[in-house]
Symmetry: C2
Subunit: 157 residues, 2 copies
């Protein structure tokens, strides 16, 4: 398997993962909107944001036969606490529906935490919807402390 930054070429596969709830979405059928293009370009250009892909490595990184098995986004946040170390925020964690239950999610999170640690982050954090109780057990098994309440407020344009 390969863990690497997603490129523009991976965008259909990443959007397919994000659209996928219970069954695999065919990347070839994903409609890439202008908003997606802009957002992906913003992530790629930002030194404190990365869209990361876990792939089966078939044909090497970026090879024609390579299948994206999972993804997540890391944001590295500078801050005055924690002795000036960045903290890493995880968003958009997904594993392909037909590859779940085989430890890929744990591997993806382990690689993300290791990447954040190597960069010098003192903390990695995420929020998970209260309804997703299986995900909560998953994160706790990985050593995350469920220490905080997560609050969200939608903003109207």
């Amino acid at each position: 398997m390969i863990f690497r930054e997603a490129t523009r070429q991976d965008l259909p596969a990443v959007l397919a993962l994000l659209a996928d709830e219970d069954s695999v979405v065919d990347p070839a059928r994903v409609v890439i909107g202008e908003a997606h293009e802009r957002a992906f370009a913003a992530i790629e250009a930002d030194p404190r944001n990365e869209m990361l892909a876990l792939t089966d490595g078939a044909g090497g990184a970026g090879g024609a036969g390579e299948v994206v098995l999972g993804c997540l986004q890391l944001t590295y946040i500078p801050g005055l606490g924690q002795n000036g170390q960045e903290r890493a925020l995880v968003e958009a964690v997904r594993i392909r529906a037909d590859r779940r239950g085989a430890g890929l999610g744990a591997e993806l999170m382990r690689l993300a935490a290791e990447r954040a640690r190597e960069r010098g982050c003192g903390l990695i954090q995420l929020t998970s919807n209260k309804r997703r109780t299986a995900a909560h057990r998953f994160y706790e098994r990985l050593g995350f402390a469920r220490s905080h309440e997560g609050f969200k407020l939608h903003l109207e344009p």
Copy 2:
């Protein structure tokens, strides 16, 4: 009152707020370490990070007599969801110990949400330690939904 980006000149006052748990810390007694300098410079230089100060406005913005009453950090996170809109993450929310209970926290959060909305963010989010039950009621009164569990994992260097 004035709501504005904190400058290097405000760093002692901001660090005093962050150090303050139950009583006011005198900014003149704050020791500014090299890590603080680096972290503050990183926030200032990053177009997706802002340390914001709410001040009493005495003598105008940055004036000699101006007192910093509260602070928070906003991070604007690009993402593929939400129609490509950024989301705003709030960290390091503080109100001066001797000015609490007068609605300043609500005003600070209202201004932060308005700033994020004007920038085009679709969502503003934060986590709060599960022990801080009064803070949870505060965020719910402001319209935030306590919809998520917040997970943290400390990373060893």
